[in-house]
Amino acid sequence: MSVATPSVRSLSGLVARPGTASTAVSAPVKIDVDRMNFYYGAKRALDGISIQIRANLVTAFIGPSGCGKSTFLRSLNRMNDIIPGTRVEGTVLIDGQDIYTPGVDVVELRRRVGMVFQKSNPFPKSIFENVAYGLRINNMARSKAELNDRVEESLRQAAIFDEVKDRLHESALALSGGQQQRLCIARALAIRPEILLMDEPASALDPIATQRIEELIYDLKKTYTIVIVTHNMQQAARVSDHTAFFWLGRLVEYDRTDRIFTAPAEKLTEDYVTGRCG
């Protein structure tokens, strides 16, 4: 199947729909991407992506494997820089600032734009040290007391504190998969990012652990702008405010999540969310 001319509906055009008023579109733009192309060597992996991601909302990226959604997610904090031969065209603005202009401090960028991966990857250290690590190397705690406070605060935000408070100095690797993932979220939150990128954060977890992560995402959006890649469409439908559908490196449709899953504008989106393609 080919994508002729992907039409991306502008979110701002959908405010005045009777009975389905949403405040979502009035949220300020946090990430503003304009005609972005991404190359792995000669191969173009992303083709003309333009999207405005709103602050304090959850935006889900869906699409079949290899459609470019993870590549796009990773380009939002320049995680792709570490892969040789990659190249970016177009602009990616965060709070109006182009993150790909020369002179941008990538370490500082990644502090502002945190990331949680599919496989939980705690350091082989204690639970406490996993969270404290980022605070230490960023000099974000001036005293032992402040460090303790920040670690506890992060663990609470990630809804795991009560489960680990009595064994903070035991190895993080002894935690269950779901707990490890929440610890990784706590670790990402400790350095107070503004944006949290999540690449399939619950795909390796059982339904209860998945539900915990989803509840957590819902709570965290009050404070953070969250972008999540997921293969699980029910999950995208449950947790996100906006959904972007990617197909063969293009952004096919971007709209309010309820519209994507009840009445998408594009045939291709319809075919994907109803399981007829992909």
Partner: protein, 230 residues
């Protein structure tokens, strides 16, 4: 993935066929009830009065199918709209079956009296209600927007005939009070037929929602056209 989708499509197709069977029964029972009144056919009336069970059984079966499809397949977009539409159409068809029984009940009482007048508008109403029902269900199966919109337009004819019947019967009742009882039953029959038209209208509205995701309920008729509301 593909195999699972095919399974879902088969289930959805069966669901549509069951709704269609139900619609066929509802339409036929409306036809027989009206014909019983017009032809003074007691047997036909009796058949409608006692034969509601198949529709009621289908009512339960269709709900059960929809419920399972929603729970097991978690359908999205057009599939989701089709099943939500089927749930609502199911309720409408069951009500049409009940209304056919109501027509037969009023008809049974009516036949105990000599005819008030030759019946012309009642069979016309019956015909229109049946056509609306049939077209609404055809539109559902064929996903035919134009046909569904035509059903909405037809509802006005039915309303006009009901008003006309009321006025006419009023003159009979004023002239001869002995016609009041049978005339009231004719009025009730016209009222039931008009209600069947309303249910066909509901079905047509659900079809429009299912096909185009447009909600046209509770809006003036002009807004029903494709250009009316995007």
């Amino acid at each position: 993935m593909e195999r699972v989708v095919r399974h879902f499509q088969e289930e959805l197709e069966t669901l549509k066929q069951r709704l269609l069977a139900m619609g066929g029964l509802a339409e036929e029972r409306t036809r027989v009830a009206v014909q019983g009144v017009v032809d003074r056919d007691h047997e036909a009336i009796q058949a409608v009065l006692t034969g509601d069970e198949p529709i009621n059984d289908l009512h339960i079966e269709v709900d059960d199918r929809c419920f399972k499809l929603l729970a097991l397949h978690q359908p999205m977009a057009a599939d989701l709209r089709a099943i939500v539409a089927a749930v609502k159409i199911n309720t409408d068809l069951e009500r049409v079956g009940d209304l056919a029984v109501n027509v037969a009940e009023a008809g049974k009482r009516y036949l105990q009296h000599p005819p008030v007048k030759p019946l012309i508008d009642i069979p016309r109403m019956g015909d229109i209600a049946q056509v609306m029902l049939r077209d609404a269900l055809d539109a559902f199966v064929r996903r035919d927007l134009a046909l569904a919109e035509a059903v909405l337009q037809k509802d006005d004819e039915l309303d006009a005939l009901k008003t006309q019947i009321f006025r006419e019967l009023l003159t009979y009742m004023l002239q001869d009070p002995s016609t009041i009882e049978p005339a009231l039953d004719l009025l009730l029959i016209s009222r039931h037929l008009e209600r069947i038209g309303d249910h066909a209208t509901n079905i047509a509205e659900d079809v429009i929602f299912m096909v185009s995701a447009r909600d046209v309920r509770h809006q003036p008729l002009e807004a029903h056209g494709p250009g009316g509301r995007g």
